[in-house]
């Protein structure tokens, strides 16, 4: 069931278009207010766009003069909050979709039992939603959504409300049940994109700023958001023959990537925080880039410390933090080898 989506909402400044191929999981990424949830609402038929179309499997659901009601779309929605019907048992909750679509009591029950088993929640069937933990409730909600046999599954940050300890199990479960299923997932978590999505679409300010396969976008981001999302540093500017010139004139040297930058056009330089060395004084020696920065915050990162300086980050050992006396407000130099910097053309942003 492939889907084509075009959404224009003047009031919210949203103008977004993308496609989901049959059996594909697409992750919608982007900062808050980028239009992700709005897009999901349009797909589910909860919001009517000013213009645009939603076509699912060749059938137009939303379009000029065309409107299919939410219940007739077969686009099941799974939100951050499991929203299990509190007056129904777990089994009745999961049987709700089949019952609503006309299945008999017995068939609906069998379908519900099948999906509960599929999410390892068969033993919860007779419980009330109030007797479930957050993770259990969300697993049941997944079963309930799947039991409705949606043509398109819409997930709105399904892991966001879960305990850090519980989220991985649900992610693994989703990875299993989402295979071969046409899905759009809104997420803020890089692992969701990595493990669940075939492709990502990055929204910012109501526009698609980048899209591509998950591996491409996360390893070679060309938008500031995708870079931050992937934990990479990104410096935007104008392409020079061997690097990127920032608006303030500083040039970052690197090696051209794919798509290659065109001198004079918009380009981005991307490098990993672990490739950055932090110095108190600007060092000599030429095959290196030196970026004068002011430390804005320090955060723990496993056995390393991530030193943030505005948009940029460097990963250093705890020992070097003490040695260099790093603290918010300290003026330091981020140094990165030119071989560690990839430069890409930037076709999407500011279009």
């Amino acid at each position: 069931m492939s889907a084509q989506v075009e959404v224009v909402l003047a009031e919210r400044g949203v103008d977004v278009a993308f496609e989901v191929a049959d059996g594909e999981t697409v992750a919608l990424l982007g900062p808050n207010g980028a239009g992700k949830s709005t897009t999901l609402s349009v797909l589910g038929g909860l919001l009517r766009p000013d213009a645009g179309r939603v076509v699912l499997d060749g059938e137009e659901l939303t379009g000029p003069g065309r409107w299919v009601a939410p219940h007739a779309r077969r686009t099941a929605l799974l939100a951050q909050d499991p929203l299990l019907f509190p007056h129904l048992s777990v089994l009745e909750n999961v049987a709700f979709g089949p019952r609503s679509r006309g299945s008999g009591r017995r068939d609906a029950r069998a379908t519900a039992e099948h999906w509960l088993a599929e999410v390892d929640a068969a033993d919860l069937a007779e419980r009330r939603p109030t007797q479930l933990s957050g993770g259990q409730a969300q697993r049941v909600a997944v079963a309930r959504a799947l039991a409705a046999e949606p043509r398109l599954l819409l997930l709105d940050e399904p892991m966001a409300a879960l305990d850090v300890a519980v989220a991985p199990a649900l992610r693994t479960l989703l990875r299993r049940v989402l295979a071969e299923r046409t899905t759009v997932i809104v997420t803020h978590h890089v692992l969701d994109a990595l493990l669940l999505a075939d492709r990502v679409v990055v929204l910012d300010g109501g526009r698609v700023v980048e899209q591509g396969t998950t591996a491409d976008v996360l390893s070679r981001p060309r938008s500031a958001f995708a870079a931050r999302f992937a934990g990479l540093n990104l410096v935007a500017g104008t392409a020079t023959p061997d690097g990127v010139r920032r608006p303030d004139g500083l040039v970052l040297h690197g090696t051209p990537g794919d798509p290659p930058p065109v001198a004079g056009a918009a380009a981005v330089a991307v490098f990993r925080p672990s490739a950055v060395a932090v110095h108190r004084e600007p060092p000599g020696g030429s095959p290196r880039n030196a970026l004068p920065v002011v430390v804005s915050e320090l955060e723990p990162l496993g056995d390393l410390v991530r030193v943030r300086a505005g948009e940029l980050a460097a990963d250093v050992t705890v020992a070097s933090v003490t040695e260099l006396g790093l603290a918010p407000g300290a003026s330091v130099t981020f140094v990165v080898k030119t071989t560690e910097v990839d430069v890409y053309a930037r076709p999407f942003e500011h279009r």
Binding site: H71, L77, L83, F96, A148, L154
Partner: protein, 261 residues
């Protein structure tokens, strides 16, 4: 449920508060001193009393049913519907709440009475409403409907639309959503609304006497009987009043734990 209060109350508040409580409780309690327990039973089981009590219970049940039949759709439309005309409608529905019941009776009479707006058409169909038991039910419904609508509309707003949205996304038609999700979730609000409507119907006086009159066995409900007895048999009036007090206390007990209204 325990509740911590860190800011003390001004001491002078307790005087007026106690006075207010006494102002409500004392008159009701004083009725019990006016009548001997031995007489009570014979007074409330007299033929007129029994007939009025039965009529009251019957008409109040009927009007509560009518309130549910009309009020549930109205409350749902008011809580969930969209449209500019809903605001004014919401205010108009509250009208019977602030209107003197006797005015309500006159309004009903001018609609369903023989000379009324619809009186001619009804007469042609062989239907007479004014001064019948049906008129009692209509009068009670008129004054009770806002109680059910307000209570249910509030419950619907509090419950929100999130579950409705999920149900629709699972393929449930609007009617299925209403029947299987929306209404079951507001059942406590619906129940307390119905109990309040029943209580208001049971106590209805002004609209009933204006629109339905006071005919024993047909339209003389308990409040009307009490008003009649007040002059001729004061003790009986007090005894019947106590019956209504008992019913009222029962109703409060039914509604209060739900917390609505």
């Amino acid at each position: 449920m325990s509740r911590a209060r860190h800011v003390g109350l001004p001491r002078w508040l307790f005087g007026p508060a106690l006075l207010a409580g006494a102002f409500v409780v004392l008159p009701v309690a004083s009725m019990t001193t006016r009548i001997a327990l031995g007489d009570f039973w014979s007074l409330v089981t007299s033929r007129a009393a029994r007939s009025a009590l039965v009529l009251s219970l019957e008409t109040s049940s009927a009007s509560t049913a009518l309130c549910l039949l009309l009020g549930v759709p109205l409350a749902t439309v008011l809580a969930r519907g969209e449209g500019r005309w809903l605001g004014p409608l919401r205010s108009l529905v509250l009208l019977p709440l602030v209107l003197p019941p006797v005015v309500g009776g006159i309004a009903l009479l001018s609609t369903f009475g023989r000379q009324g707006l619809l009186g001619g058409e009804l007469e042609a169909l062989g239907i007479r409403i004014a001064f019948t038991s049906v008129a009692v039910v209509l009068a009670q419904t008129f004054v009770s409907l806002p109680f059910l609508v307000i209570s249910l509309e509030g419950a619907l707003r509090t419950a929100g639309e999130r579950y409705d949205v999920v149900a629709a996304s699972l393929g449930a038609r609007p009617t299925t959503v209403l029947r299987r999700v929306t209404l079951p979730l507001v059942l406590p609000g619906l129940a307390s609304g119905a109990v309040l409507a029943f209580a208001r119907s049971l106590g209805e006086f002004g609209a009933t006497i204006t629109f339905a009159g006071s005919l024993e066995g047909t339209t003389r409900t308990l409040p009307l009987l009490i008003y009649n007895l007040r002059v001729t048999d004061a003790d009986a009036a007090v005894a019947m009043s106590l019956v209504l007090v008992a019913v009222a206390v029962l109703v409060i007990g039914l509604v209060r734990p739900r917390g609505a209204l």
